[in-house]
């Protein structure tokens, strides 16, 4: 059997407190690293800003979904009652729009909610059965009580020994390399 050569995905470090991670994220960014990611057991306040994240696309996708649901819902009822199967009931208008509002409203909400959730999952690339970060030692703590930061090997500034020392310098615990497979 030929042993596959293992690639390095990155270097991971661990913190006990969310504030320490936010502090480290700022320092890593200032040091010029671009490809790094934090892993936390809950959304940490201030971390997206510290990592230089801007607004995301989820609200826009939700808005578009809602518009499609609302316009589509009303349009369909209009088409069904005015063109597809018009029924003249005591001379009342075929386009009796107030009566179409409840269904239009519900479809707006339904499509917006589905777009919000599916859009969020798609942008996050989920479901994704495996990711190299799961190889990290002690990574199960990322869903419990520890705050991780991983600097990835694809970053131009990445040098295994230097980067590891840099993370230790930020007082990260258990600094170790993460393998690709």
């Amino acid at each position: 059997m030929i042993a596959r050569r293992s690639h390095i995905y990155g270097v991971i470090g661990e913190f006990e407190k969310p504030e320490q991670l936010v502090h480290a994220a700022v320092k890593i960014r200032e040091a010029g690293y671009r490809y790094y990611e934090s892993y936390t057991p809950f959304p940490v306040e201030g971390l997206p800003e510290a990592m230089g994240m801007r607004r995301n696309m989820v609200p826009l996708i939700t808005l578009l979904g809602g518009l499609v649901g609302g316009l589509g819902g009303f349009g369909f009822q209009y088409w069904a009652n005015v063109y597809s199967y018009p029924m003249n009931i005591a001379g009342r208008p075929l386009n009796s729009w107030p009566a179409f509002i409840p269904v239009t409203f519900e479809l707006t909400i339904l499509c917006a909610a589905l777009s919000a959730v599916l859009g969020m999952l798609a942008l996050n690339g989920l479901p994704q059965p495996h990711h190299p970060i799961f190889n990290a030692h002690r990574f199960t703590h990322a869903s419990a009580d520890r705050f991780f930061v991983c600097i990835q090997a694809r970053d131009k500034k990445f040098q295994l020994a230097d980067t590891a020392r840099f993370l230790q310098g930020l007082s990260a615990h258990h600094v170790s390399e993460v393998h690709d497979d």
Partner: protein, 461 residues
């Protein structure tokens, strides 16, 4: 006033009573909540409770099976009372669901920290209540296998559903509500499923929770989008929850039947829904925290706040009853006046008085803090309110339909054993689902409790 001193000093329970017991850390909340699912042995009490509920669920299956064989004639419905138990129970169950969405969405938008430990099981309760509610209109159609006719699909019949009918609005409102509640609940569960995946010790559990968690790894970029999606879902669920019972009330108020044709119906139905929903959350929360020792997480502050919401919505409901009454008399419409007379003196008057007792008089005890903080009283009160809200729907449907315009069209209604079997059967299904839920999924949001640990530790600095 010195710093750190509370602006007011009420005894026992105040705004400063913690929403989380003291001394908790990230790992202690994680351990304690996930242990209920992963490591604690299943107790004998769980098995007994589950089996009891499961047998009652069996009764539901028999009742529905018999109904499908024989038709709706096995029920007590007749002409003129075509709605009967099926619609009473539908409105009751769907109303109960409303508290879950209110807690998870509206209190989230209002930044109420105390929602954190009760939102997960309140949302589960919503889903299960909507499932119970959905059964009734379905089997009430008489031929449930044609229920898909209610959805607009291109059929060989070449026609569309009647979009001007409140009954079709109901189809859209309830199915949207069920779907959005499921999405909201599931999105909230994803990080916790990842926690369970990482803490499971057996292969089977790792695979099942792992698949459900979809590879969640808590990355900051993921959390960023996750928070946007969650906030948007809360914003979307808020008008949705108000619309659902509004649409349900349209089933009545669009009709011209005396006692139904009133504009106060939508707001007072929504208030009534939240009222009965909070009662049901209390009914579940009190045994749950006792059985699993969750008094640190579901504190007296939670119970007291829920009692206050119950009192407030109960007063709105009382206001609704009063104005329903007043407008009937003030309108001078003889059918409406007659309906008031029927409620007070007709053959179903005892139900009306029982309704006033359960929904208006007894809950006034909640004005007293001693009552709000007494677990036994609160539990009994929540049952009383649930009974009262069921009676409300019974009174609305049965009294109006048995006494409408023409004396020759009057009738009487009494449920048969199959009506009761179906109704009690859905309660069995509801309780069974709750039992399964607390056993296999975290009944309290672990990720949000960790956030609460951070926030409460900042407060004590």
């Amino acid at each position: 006033m010195s710093a750190g001193q509370p602006p007011f000093d009420s005894p026992e329970i105040s705004r400063l009573t913690p929403v989380l017991g003291p001394g908790h850390t990230y790992s202690s909340v994680t351990d304690k909540i996930s242990a209920i699912v992963l490591t604690r042995p299943t107790s004998l009490g769980w098995y007994i409770g589950f089996l009891l509920a499961f047998s009652v669920f069996g009764v539901l299956n028999i009742a529905i099976g018999w109904l499908i064989m024989k038709g709706v004639g096995i029920w007590g419905i007749n002409i003129p009372i075509g709605w009967g138990f099926a619609i009473v129970n539908f409105v009751w169950w769907i109303g109960i669901g409303h508290a879950g969405t209110l807690i998870s969405a509206i209190l989230f938008l209002l930044n109420q920290k105390w929602r954190t430990s009760i939102n997960r099981f309140a949302e589960a309760m919503t889903l299960f209540a909507v499932a119970c509610a959905g059964i009734f209109p379905l089997i009430h159609t008489g031929r449930p296998w044609y229920a898909f006719w209610m959805f607009p699909y291109p059929s060989v019949m070449g026609i569309w559903p009647q979009f001007r009918s409140p009954l079709i609005w109901d189809v859209f409102a309830v199915s949207t509500y069920g779907t959005v509640s499921l999405l909201f609940w599931f999105v909230g569960l994803i990080p916790d499923l990842a926690t369970l995946r990482d803490r499971s010790t057996t292969k089977a559990k790792q695979i099942i929770y792992g698949m459900l968690a979809m590879g969640w790894r808590g990355s900051a970029r993921h959390w960023h989008r996750y928070q946007s999606a969650y906030l948007l879902l809360a914003g979307l669920a808020t008008p949705l929850v108000l619309s659902v019972h509004t649409v349900v009330s349209f089933d009545f108020s669009i009709a011209i039947v005396p006692g139904w044709h009133t504009t106060i119906f939508p707001p007072y139905f929504v208030a009534g829904a939240i009222y009965s929903g909070f009662a049901m959350v209390i009914t579940i929360a009190i045994p749950l925290r006792k059985a699993y020792g969750l008094e640190d997480f579901i504190t007296m502050r939670h119970l007291e706040n829920m009692a206050k919401v119950m009192l407030a919505t109960g007063l709105i409901v009382a206001y609704g009853y009063f104005f329903e009454f007043f407008m009937s008399l003030y309108s001078g419409n003889k059918f409406d006046v007659f309906l008031v007379h029927q409620r007070l003196h007709g053959p179903y008057a005892p139900f009306y008085y029982a309704l006033i007792l359960c929904n208006i008089l007894i809950p006034q005890l909640l004005w007293f803090q001693k009552m709000r903080t007494n677990v036994v009283v609160l539990f009994l009160m929540s049952i009383v309110v649930n009974v009262g809200m069921w009676l409300e729907r019974f009174v609305i449907i049965v009294i109006s339909l048995t006494r409408d315009f023409m004396p020759s069209a009057w009738g009487r209604y009494s449920p048969t054993i199959w009506d009761w079997a179906t109704f009690i059967g859905t309660m069995g299904m509801f309780v069974m689902l709750i039992f399964l839920f607390v056993r296999v999924l975290p009944a309290i949001s672990i990720a949000e409790m960790r956030e609460l640990v951070t926030e409460t530790s900042e407060e004590h600095k």
